[in-house]
């Protein structure tokens, strides 16, 4: 059953009570919330996501509460508890949804060490995955959002999960956060895409979320082998450059863009080198999204 199939009042009731169990990629998340604005956005962005029947073991327990105190009256806040722990400082109440998204990312990054986790976007075409490892500010989320709106299947815009057994990537579809100028860029690029409200004044500037196409959610259980490692960087006014790099260079860059390479020890070393062996690696500089997409499409066809 999908979240959209539950009536709104029931969703709100459950969020305030025993919580709602949602499946996102391989993870089961139990969500509790007393924040009204959050309920609406959850129903909107996770409409197509499966509700897990009770009882079930949750990987993460996420709770949005409203801290008490004097502030409550004139500057209401929201507090996120990740398994009972306060990990972040409170956010303005209106930022409950982005707080939830970042909090869930944090849980995954801190705990899911059964996977090699890359700080990387991942999209699939023709049965192979294009990985775009890069830090914040590189434009990878924008590029990822654009690719997803031109026929590539979303695996993730933030976390690439590599399965130890076979080196496959595991989908983790989630709403894609776009920052500042990227929001307008994508709005122009894909006017029909599900673009959520803008949240101003967050720690990362203005943030808006792009919804996940229903087809991507439906194929959440379909893994795929890696095909290409492309290290992107957006540079305004730059002409397109897609340059092959050596496996050794790719290995260094990959390890530096991993959440848990060091933690995984020998296993991380082996999985990262296997990934590099199985991929063609490039660096990409671009300023024009359409050109970048054409370039990536060509890779997929070759």
């Amino acid at each position: 059953m999908k979240l959209a199939e539950l009536p709104g009042e029931l969703v709100a009731q459950r969020l305030e009570g025993r919580g709602i169990l949602l499946q996102t990629g391989p993870f089961t998340v139990r969500i509790h919330s007393v924040v009204e604005g959050f309920t609406q956005l959850l129903r909107r962005f996770y409409a197509n996501f499966p509700v897990v029947p009770e009882p079930a073991i949750a990987d993460f327990h996420v709770r949005l509460t409203i801290p008490g105190g004097i502030r409550r009256r004139w500057r209401p806040q929201v507090l996120l508890l990740l398994d009972g722990q306060e990990v972040f400082l409170p956010y303005p109440l209106s930022h409950a949804f982005p707080l939830f998204e970042w909090g869930l990312n944090w849980c995954i990054a801190m705990q899911a060490h059964q996977y090699l986790m890359l700080h990387s976007a991942a999209v699939e075409r023709s049965g192979r995955v294009l990985l775009l490892p890069a830090g914040s500010g590189s434009g990878k989320s924008t590029l990822c959002a654009a690719l997803v709106n031109r026929g590539w299947r979303l695996f993730s815009d933030e976390f690439s999960l590599v399965r130890a057994a076979d080196g496959h990537l595991i989908p983790l579809p989630r709403p894609m956060p776009l920052k500042n100028s990227s929001i307008d860029v994508i709005r122009d690029f894909a006017p029909d895409a599900e673009l959520g409200p803008s949240f101003h004044g967050t720690r990362k500037g203005t943030v808006a979320h792009l919804g996940v196409p229903a087809s991507c959610v439906e194929q959440s259980a379909v893994s795929a082998p890696p095909g290409w490692l492309v290290f992107p960087s957006y540079q305004s006014h730059a002409s397109l450059r897609l340059e092959p790099i050596s496996k050794a260079q790719a290995f260094i860059k990959l390890a530096n863009n991993s959440f848990n390479y060091q933690l995984l020890g020998l296993r991380g070393f082996r999985e990262a080198s296997r990934l590099v062996d199985n991929c063609d690696s490039y660096i990409l500089s671009y300023s024009n999204l359409d050109e970048a997409i054409v370039s990536m499409n060509r890779l997929a066809e070759s």
Partner: protein
Amino acid sequence: MAGDGIVDGPEYIEAETSWVAPEKQELHWVSWGEQHALYDARSGETHLLTEQTARVLQQLVLRPGTAREVMEALCSESGECCDEQSLESSVWLLRQLHSAGLIEKSGT
């Protein structure tokens, strides 16, 4: 300076220091052509080595030795000629390996 008969110059002493590398099973290698990635299972560190550095380390894994002994073993293997410059570069490479925590002076 090594080579003009003065025995207490720093390079001379370094050339005679005997080095020992970790056990073979502690080191895990992945090589792409002449570039090598190395995982040291004792420290959990990953290192990137050039061809020459990798050869020096692998020689020490085979058998502990001084810079001179390592140089001579590698030279005889590759057929290159051994001179003061090769010795200096061996000493230098060994110092790099030491500061990366990959080799220790014998008797440590």
